[in-house]
């Protein structure tokens, strides 16, 4: 069947992409639209690297057909990164050494952003549950959780960011 055009809002901008049937959102973002912050680790919904925010909810873009986001709002890491400097979550990840190889970071940042948007002051247990679908194979999870706690506490690294 012929390709079709899918129109959606990507990081606040009306976007069109022409895709073959069942093309995933991740593939459309990375290969068609050049938005490569979103990473694909496992292609099967286990690792969370491809997490993006759809209408305020985290979803896995590598198992989501792009046709399903027709007319909807998609937010990727590019969309929360300011032109100058870093998003508070990015800054906190940097300060807490929550990034090592960096492959999981886009997904970790997006799921953390989705969590803080819904629950600005989560407990450590709530953070751990929210991040449980995102795998990191380098740093362990404590620095990542500490970074989210730091942003939730609204501090610059002096409070709420303890490594246990």
């Amino acid at each position: 069947m012929a390709s079709k055009i899918v129109t959606f809002t990507l990081n606040g901008r009306e976007t069109e992409v022409m895709v073959k049937p069942l093309t995933t959102l991740a593939k459309a973002l990375r290969e068609k639209l050049g938005f490569t912050a979103t990473k694909c680790g496992c292609y099967e919904g286990n690792c969370g690297s491809c997490t993006v925010i759809l209408n305020g909810e985290p979803v896995l873009s590598c198992i989501l057909p792009v046709e399903e986001v027709e007319g909807q709002n998609v937010l990727t890491l590019e969309g929360i990164t300011p032109t100058e400097g870093l998003h508070p979550l990015q800054q906190a990840f940097h300060e807490n050494f929550a990034v090592q190889c960096g492959f999981c970071s886009p997904g970790m940042l997006m799921i953390s952003k989705a969590l803080l948007d819904k629950n600005p002051h989560p407990t450590k247990a709530e953070i751990a549950e929210a991040l449980s679908g995102n795998l990191c194979r380098c740093t362990g999870y404590d620095p990542i959780i500490a970074a989210v706690q730091q942003v939730a506490a609204g501090s610059n690294g002096n409070q709420g960011g303890s490594h246990e």
Binding site: M1, L60, I63, E68, E129, S132
Partner: protein
Amino acid sequence: MTTQAYFRPRSLAEALGLLDEHGPAMLVMAGGTLAMPLINKGVSRPEKVMGLRQAGLDYVRPVDGGVHIGAAASLARLRAESDMPLLAEAVKNVAGWAVQNMGTAGGNLFAPPPAGDLAVALLALDAQVKVASLKRGERLVPLAEFYTGFLTNCLAADELVVEIQVPRPAGKAVLLKYGRLYTNTPAIVTVAVHLVAENGRTRDARVALNAVGPHPLRARQAEIALTGFSLDTAAIAAASRAAAAECEPYTDPIASAEYRRRMTGVFVQRALAQVAA
């Protein structure tokens, strides 16, 4: 071969029409959390795919005596909107947040063990599955009769799961999932029990298990061991032994068959002890 067509029906009637027209050549998908990984890996190469997100099956509807769950209701919606704690507890343990947003109640019925834990709660609550076809209309199947084997079920080629109907629990229900991690973890065993007591004795018992058989199942011998007796230490021990004996565990990277069998006894015992407490 790549997929030639991705259909997105806008109503149940349209979905049933597509299924009637294309039959088994068309893969039916709701949230895609089971189908898309297989398609991405090339294990599944469907010529045609039907996505059910727009088909009007995304609802959680309280009714007299229970709740009706649309087949395409997301697990997250079910967790948030159902007022049955057992269902919320089952969903909480199914997967991570993003997968709960994508995966659906109906789709979870097709997840092979050790996945598919929602069905354990649904079995304990004696849920029924409404299936429909274009030419033969609707029928209700008790969930306990839905599964016929590993990855097989009672659906005909032209039938679609459209709704899950859950009666309000008449007694006390408990769900326990045992995995290697605190959360988002495949089950070693998942147990749900629902018991109705009358004059100090168990009148009606349902014991459901997952990850210890080809599909989520009822532990009928354990139920018999409970029915008509008071829920004391002896009855609980007898039911736990029966469940451990009758389950059909398997070995996978999560746990050995022997360990799963032993833990089935342990967790049935713990779940029943919670009901008795």
